[in-house]
Symmetry: C2
Subunit: 238 residues, 2 copies
């Protein structure tokens, strides 16, 4: 079902443990999940975790890598294609936003085994991600380098080319944050939306509408800022 580097050549028991771990770590958090529950979910013996992974923490680290490695290959391919394209920066930006939103909210996620409950809970990967933001573990360093930095740098590249004039790194970062903030907000703060609008997550998030909106909103924002830069430069020359 899933051709995964970390996953492919694992013994059956180890695979089952990993899948169960994603599910339960996601549903309850690291400390609230007991190794007993994971083993029960995976239908293996209590000692299996220590045998196959060393201990609970190393299992969690594997889970973290597993989650972020999900779709990395496809995603990276698309990414270099977008960044190296000679299309207009606005087109590239559109491709970028559409791609990220797709991988964040697409069916690939809502159908994966890591998302046990689509109704009243954040799906496992996002819960785990939020946990890391609240209290980063040691693994986060690697995760950022391997999986997050490439995505962010790509966006910075696109933006740099968009503002063809000399533009500060600080401004690029602000713009990138504006974009990422818009993309991630609906998943990350989903429990609030749920309570505000009695909504169920994957029903209420219209991926297509979100893509379009984030792109149009962003385009308006960027154009305005670019224009302001332009008038500032002009004024500077007078």
């Amino acid at each position: 079902m899933n051709t995964h580097t970390l996953y492919a050549d694992m013994p059956e028991t180890k695979k089952r443990l990993l899948e169960a771990a994603v599910k339960i770590f996601g549903a309850k958090g690291f400390l609230a999940t007991t190794v007993r529950e994971i083993c029960q979910e995976a239908a293996v013996n209590i000692a299996a975790i220590n045998y196959h992974f060393g201990d609970k923490e190393q299992l969690y680290a594997t889970v973290l890598h597993f989650i972020f490695n999900f779709h990395k290959q496809i995603r990276d391919q698309k990414l270099v294609h977008i960044v190296n394209s000679d299309a207009h920066p606005e087109k590239r930006l559109k491709a970028y936003i559409y791609m990220i939103v797709h991988h964040t909210y697409g069916k690939d996620c809502s159908n994966c085994t890591s998302c046990p409950s689509k109704t009243n809970q954040n799906c496992a990967p996002y819960s785990i991600f939020l946990m890391e933001m609240a209290h980063p573990s040691e693994v986060l360093d690697d995760i950022v380098e391997q999986y997050i930095r490439p995505d962010v740098e790509s966006l910075m590249d696109i933006l740099r080319k968009y503002f063809d004039a000399n533009v500060s790194q600080a401004l690029l970062k602000l713009c990138a944050d504006s974009i990422w903030g818009q993309i991630l907000h609906p998943t990350m703060f989903w429990p609030i939306d749920q309570r505000l609008n009695q909504s169920t997550k994957f029903k209420s998030i219209d991926t297509q509408a979100l893509k379009q909106h984030v792109y149009e909103f962003t385009l308006g924002g960027l154009r305005r800022i670019k224009q302001q830069l332009h008038t500032e430069n002009k004024r500077g020359l007078v």
Copy 2:
């Protein structure tokens, strides 16, 4: 130091416990903090939590209310003033964004006792908030109703008046999310920024620049969307 409704008429021990609880719950999460550590930090006996709060969970619930109630009075006053103003919606939007950013990143927070470490950790309130997003507790229902819904509704009001034409609730929500996403992103995903840019939080976040950027970016986004609505309507009439 802090004239707080929940805080004012508390016995000394209870206050100390509450402050210690904010600090340690924030630094470690609910399960990772032991009542023993809180009591040690507060320099009170082990049994004090159960005596003053009932149990660990009720202490945590109090902490949650305490955090969100912080500055609520001032904030609410400003809010009604902004919403009921007869200024141009763009001006009101600016006031709204500036106010929220101020209360999210302002000195009032970075100086408060709830933010023990400004260097390598998210400050307590935001860590606790993220925990709630990852795994909501029962208290979140009340928190959303009392503290979050008013803020969001105010923004929706402003936006509704901005798009003077008939505009769908869905579009308003998308725009509101774009704004909130931009505002919250830097705090919430601070651990990533820290690792990407070796930055320390309160040094790297320039509140003034953030305010201005979010407003300008948002204004550009909203204007573009409004314009698109307008041409759509025109086309509809033809």
